[in-house]
Symmetry: C2
Subunit: 252 residues, 2 copies
Amino acid sequence: MARIVVFNQKGGVGKTTTALNLGAAMARAGRKVLLVDLDPQAHLSAIHGKALKDVGASMFAFYRDNIPLANLVIDWPDIGQLIPAHAELIKVDSIFGKGPNILSRLNQGLTTFDNNSSDVLIDCCPFLGVLSLNAIFAADHVLIPISSDFLSMRGALQIERTLSALEPVLKRRVGRHYLLTRFERRRNMSFEVQKRLIEHFGEEVCETVISENVAVAEAPAMNKDIFSHAADSRGAQDYAALLEELKAKGIL
Amino acid sequence: MARIVVFNQKGGVGKTTTALNLGAAMARAGRKVLLVDLDPQAHLSAIHGKALKDVGASMFAFYRDNIPLANLVIDWPDIGQLIPAHAELIKVDSIFGKGPNILSRLNQGLTTFDNNSSDVLIDCCPFLGVLSLNAIFAADHVLIPISSDFLSMRGALQIERTLSALEPVLKRRVGRHYLLTRFERRRNMSFEVQKRLIEHFGEEVCETVISENVAVAEAPAMNKDIFSHAADSRGAQDYAALLEELKAKGIL
Ligand SMILES: Nc1ncnc2c1ncn2[C@@H]1O[C@H](COP(=O)(O)OP(=O)(O)OP(=O)(O)O)[C@@H](O)[C@H]1O
Ligand SMILES: Nc1ncnc2c1ncn2[C@@H]1O[C@H](COP(=O)(O)OP(=O)(O)OP(=O)(O)O)[C@@H](O)[C@H]1O
Ligand SMILES: [Mg+2]
Ligand SMILES: [Mg+2]
């Protein structure tokens, strides 16, 4: 089963939104989904509505106390399972530094827990520290949301350099796709960013774009994914189309 | 003269956009402005167009080699001065950890350099590490951009807790204002977020809101601030109004 990390060190590009809504699309297509929240700010966990409990029931307990991931999963109706984040995760960088063992921790934990029966989606914070490196190490594929504006475009080039720099350590070139998000068809800028992204990354740019759609931004306030909140919305259609594209490409 | 840090650990809320455009508004009002880029991703420096040079000419040289800030400033036409960031700044957290001396480094550096003749605006990355803590320590005031959506609203509450946790170390309650950005008047959500923010933070919420305005997002592609790119745009009017409000409140 697939392990996808949703990463971009640029902030606010739709990582959490994509982890949530792609996960929900996958669940509705009958797949078994595990969401892992690796952001100390825990926005994905917050959308669940009942996931932010004590630190002993979060990913921090996995890192600090070696609690097995199986003990940390909670149910997410209509999506699958979630392992919540916690604010204490901010300490993982300083507790563990960047030694070689720490980088494979999540990979080992996931293999032990699930032995590949679930598809895994990992949400990251916009910072390439121990947590995000753990996620990239554990993943088969990196999904890189890029919001359709120029500052975010610049972030895309930086992440390519970052992944190249990681190849000697990863000992492979990790597969990746770039996903345009917050695509506003009324703006030339959206198409300009798409054009430049394709010039640079070619077939690694998803054909699906996620439209700017207020329903997508409203859903979290009601602890919902886009399908539960507005199943006929453009955002729901786009995330469903994204799933189809990733299946057609053999990533899912 | 004022020292304002633009900080929010939520990503993509308009920190860089606000540092740039508030700085430009201040320069046009005749003020002497120093922009400090403390984001290893260096988006603010990238907008300058000629600021991303070797690491010895960046804020990293200040931290690693104690190069005086005076040696690192470059000119930014129509804005003032900039001290650029560099990707190497990502190492500051691991090189310096969180000891008491490191936290006051920027404060001391700024006092030595400028002795208060410029207004200083510091742009931060969406991560509360040594760099952002340095910036908060050095600042008289924190300007917290909040994009007008629910996930960003949640970030606002987190930052309030963060600043409270810092009070014993800072030995003062640092002044702050919350600035709604990317305000889309056609969406109920914008007004809902504004209402909740005011309920929670009252007078600390700026009356000025920065409108969602494509010109603001386009300007960086041309290495421009909003006034240089589209002086009559809504975005330019809003950033000019923000300056007036901060002056009226005695922050600038
Ligand atoms: N397609 C869309 N249409 C409208 N709003 C969107 C869309 N995608 C994301 N948003 C909104 O944009 C904001 C940023 O998205 P999100 O928090 O998912 O980004 P992120 O990359 O996870 O941010 P961070 O770097 O802080 O973790 C959120 O308020 C979200 O609801
Ligand atoms: N008022 C606005 N209208 C339209 N677009 C905007 C506005 N403010 C910001 N943007 C765009 O939103 C994106 C995010 O803004 P910006 O990069 O300034 O946020 P940030 O908080 O500095 O992000 P990061 O956390 O990655 O440092 C940018 O592409 C920017 O051009
Ligand atoms: Mg997120
Ligand atoms: Mg920024």
